[in-house]
Symmetry: D2
Subunit: 354 residues, 4 copies
């Protein structure tokens, strides 16, 4: 089996972390009832309730696209709309899944700086139209941290939720990298969510170190009514649910969910620090979680590629580096060195050309 | 962690088989691209093509509900209909998923003996209405083996597909336990599918010994156009796809997919044989795969329950015993003994009452 | 322009009645705002509220398929189900529209006598399954009068609604020929609906004498929240709404809605009476509204066809005669005479053959 | 019945033109089969085929939202996308209907000048993404004339369709005011559609002088397969279809479809001419069809309102005047005079304030 050298193109390229793996191994013993009637599912759900310090409703889905779409569909009818940022994953990378699961709810896209929604942007979209010829705004979704690696502060979340409450909107948090946000702010999951007015959270397990799986947490019980039917109908109920639940037990009970995320964040900071003095290279967004987006001359990016590095440039042409739970710090250093070399080389080329 | 004693209520109660587990373990090394651009996904797809002796299109979904629904949605528009048996899983146990994924395609249900569709039943439903006030029949789905543990012979499949061709219908096979059917008939997967006129197969991995995952095989390339988009939009594209693909590699390359199934079938036969002489107890359906449905007096069923056995009675009131890839033959014997004891006890009770 | 001789195949074959026409004519003066902001729409809505003696919410849709489907979609989510009779129009003649508008809500079909649902049938379907693998029952729909021309008594409706309340189900009434039911029972629209526990009524205008249009009446305001958006998104908001509303004004204010229906009912009774003594000919269902379904030997039906009569036989092979608001009583007599002649002829043929 | 004084806020405020009315009146005689099996529907379809000089497939829907959405749904699957202008009615005023009917197809919105799509804009959106995480572009929709009253030239349409062909996209034309475009260009309907590469046209009857109704014309027969089922399921099949079809006969056979439109266009030109010299007032878009969008100081708009004029300002804050088939030319003059007076008054106010 050919393996890729470790890259930082995506935190989806990493495998399963030891804590998740060990829990799956332990879960793989004996017979247990299917479809979530097993002790692992109960235990994982209780772990979430314990971690979030509240009696929330917990559901499991196979991936983030489904989790987000199901959660939004539970907040909306087809003729409602969802306010999101122009860089929101639901808008840019889910192939119309929110529209599909909701049978047509439109996404209203705010063009905001760096992917962060603001109360002003929400208000503008929510109040721009109030006639029946346009889908009625019903929910707001924010990604925490954003797709650009920024973290909403608690104050920002509270300001957004206050605006939502005022305007009759529900607040959904896409937490594909929720753990990274918690590690970044050092706050409790409860503070970041229901205590700040979040109604529903999709807590990502895959990027956090699992094989697959996201948890959907409803902090308002009414919103969760019949949500189990919704998951089942949408092909998101695992028969051998224990294997979706056990990794959560392994990660939540051990605290690995947080240490994994903290490590990814550290790698990002380390890269940012190592290249802070490089001329012509600058972060496109504040480095607050496990991502670094670099704006760099094309010649520099070419130099990086020539040195074997792979990365995406789909956001504003910048090079994205995304650090997984097991990113190798020495490889982060290697990346910084290669970047420095590429800059030098590019500058030399420019000098020669001049 | 409390564990259930081994039961035969469902083959979903079993865990992950060693071959699947070992492949996941091996796959859990290093970094690989996400979303199926990894070598494991390629290798699993090639394994299917090799096993089926044809260049079919291969896709992976998380579970059977999604696999069936996506496949049927690819065959139909919302105003089309799908012909199925009254005991078909798509009709009875998927919570309206086929209707949801297809945005409304109606299931036309044939009331047939033992869950098997026949050419006559298909023809009757397909030609009963031809006006635009009723959804136009466009596909037929059969479950192989059926939900009642019966296996369509190759002749039966061919007869169905011939009728489908004649009537302009596509033929879908729900193979949640496809391997059990192959083991039962001793025929090749190719013979059971495309060589017999099947257009699309959903090949079940979960019941075959995996943690999760079904493969969708299109034998007609045209039907698979843009199916990758369909999976993505419907929340069925795994980011760490290697963990959905690797178990298939482990099971297909080793032949375990077949031996697992053969073992389940053997358990069913052993139970059937062991109780063949029991008065008042009879199989509701021919025992051909890994299921035994027993019709028995309620007192006997009660006696079994009192002895700690759990089982479902949702089909016709009979007790269903479903044998997984790792069913313990000594426990099968124990079940047979307990059943015999329950019969004796029930008869004694009856004698006393008389 | 070739015109058909008056037939009784369907009450959709008739045109627009004078009251509806005159109102459209009067409405066709001057400029009025679009999309229901006009005085005619207000007046039609008020007429309904007056007629039904309650402050219900009133909406207008273009046809019955849309009205029923939108109403049911407002009661259900995609993973819910709707209980109906096996002869319900929503099941047999709307091409999967309820499933389409609701994005997948399944219809649970009760096989009942003559198309009438009973509390027992509702209870059996509503309580048969309570697991998440089957769509959760959420609404019941009855057709008043039924597709077979029978009328639910107030007692029957109340018994159904009591069962619905007990089981947490909403009650929808498909009133494609609602006026005929009112005329048959001689009761008030209020008694037949909200006073008997009906939550939503689709009141048919087309068969009652209009060009097109059905009214959807919600007696529970909560169910009507955002229903205007639902109609708009589903392509059921008329821009020149006055032409959908005015005919209702014309018919409701004048009482023609009721007299039109009473006339159709009278025609049916007259036919039934005229042929009561005919040997071998019998009504399949009690003749209570504007339909007569006759069971007759095929030779007799052939004799009728030979005499130029057209009729449908899609329900149980019986000949359906459906009388419109303007059915010609002399033609009803002619039909009775031709039927008598056909019977005589058929008997003669039989005698000859014997 | 209170009537509005004639306004130019919308061409939906007008009534039914005499040609349409007379045809409905004539159609309202005798009995004819329902659901389009009547002679009027046949004749209307043939009239379209004659007018368009081709054997196209013709369907009728109740309104433009439905017609557009059904047509686009026929071109797309849920995971496909549709390219449109930012001012396209499907994007701004159909409450998510295209997404609803297609079960999720996303609209990709081009920000273009004055609502016109260009080959460059189409290409940019169609080729911007080619991964499965974003809906695959499959169709382009243009509004002819645009929502801003501009008309695509034949050259522009041909350039767009050439780009579509090259990129594998289908071309849909939203012709809510199609007749106005024909009148403006003086070209044949055939030249403006299929001869220029349009695949599907929605030809608006409501704004053209009918009570309701749009025709959907497929120039490629393959795209129309089973479209009748689609219409039926979506609640767009009229039972008394003759009343949807007859007005088309009345308007197409007489040529009124074109003269009605020409009159609306003339009114727009007359207004534009009459105010051409007014300081501070200018058309926001070239006046090519029956709309005039005026950019004017708020004080002037207030002055107009004070004089009893109603108009919308939802596009760019400009005042929209839209002229119906029966717009009164003397009222157009009155509007021009009032506008002139409002300007004078506003200027005087300004002078005083200065």
């Amino acid at each position: 089996m050919i393996q890729e050298p470790q890259q930082f193109a995506s935190d989806n390229y990493a495998g399963i972390c030891p804590a998740a793996w060990a829990a799956m191994d332990e879960a793989n013993r004996g017979y247990v009832p299917a479809y979530g009637e097993d002790p692992w599912t109960q235990r994982a759900s209780d772990s979430f309730r314990s971690l979030f310090e509240t009696d929330c409703e917990v559901f499991f889905a196979f991936n983030g696209t489904a989790a987000n779409s199901l959660a939004l569909a539970a907040l909306c009818q087809s003729y409602h709309s969802v306010i999101c940022s122009s860089s929101a994953h639901v808008e840019t990378d889910e192939c119309g899944a929110p529209e599909f699961f909701s049978n047509g709810s439109k996404l209203l896209v705010a063009q905001t700086e760096g992917g962060k929604l603001t109360p002003e942007a929400v208000r503008a979209l929510a109040t721009g139209r109030s006639d029946i010829h346009f889908p009625k705004p019903r929910a707001v979704t924010i990604t925490q941290p954003t797709e650009t690696g920024q973290v909403y502060s608690l104050e920002e979340i509270r300001a957004l939720s206050a605006t939502c409450r005022e305007l009759g909107l529900r607040l959904h948090m896409d937490g594909a990298r929720f753990a990274n946000a918690c590690a970044a702010l050092g706050c409790s999951p409860a503070d970041m969510t229901w205590r700040s007015g979040v109604d529903v959270l999709c807590f990502g397990g895959t990027k956090n170190g699992m094989a697959a799986g996201e948890a959907i947490l409803f902090f308002d019980h009414v919103l969760a009514i019949d949500f189990d039917y919704r998951c089942k109908q949408a092909g998101q109920l695992a028969s051998k649910m224990r294997f979706l639940a056990a990794p959560w037990v392994g990660m939540l009970e051990s605290g690995v969910w947080l240490s994994n995320a903290a490590h990814g964040n550290e790698c990002a900071r380390q890269l940012a620090t190592a290249i802070a003095d490089l001329p012509g290279i600058e972060p496109m967004f504040p480095v607050e979680a496990n991502a670094v987006f670099l704006r760099a001359p094309e010649a520099v990016l070419e130099g990086l590629r020539a040195r074997g590095w792979r990365f995406y440039t789909f956001i504003g042409g910048g090079a994205r580096f995304m650090f997984a739970w097991d990113a190798d710090l020495s490889r982060v250093d290697a990346l910084a060195r290669d970047l420095r070399a590429a800059v030098t080389e590019a500058n030399r080329g420019e000098t020669l050309a001049a």
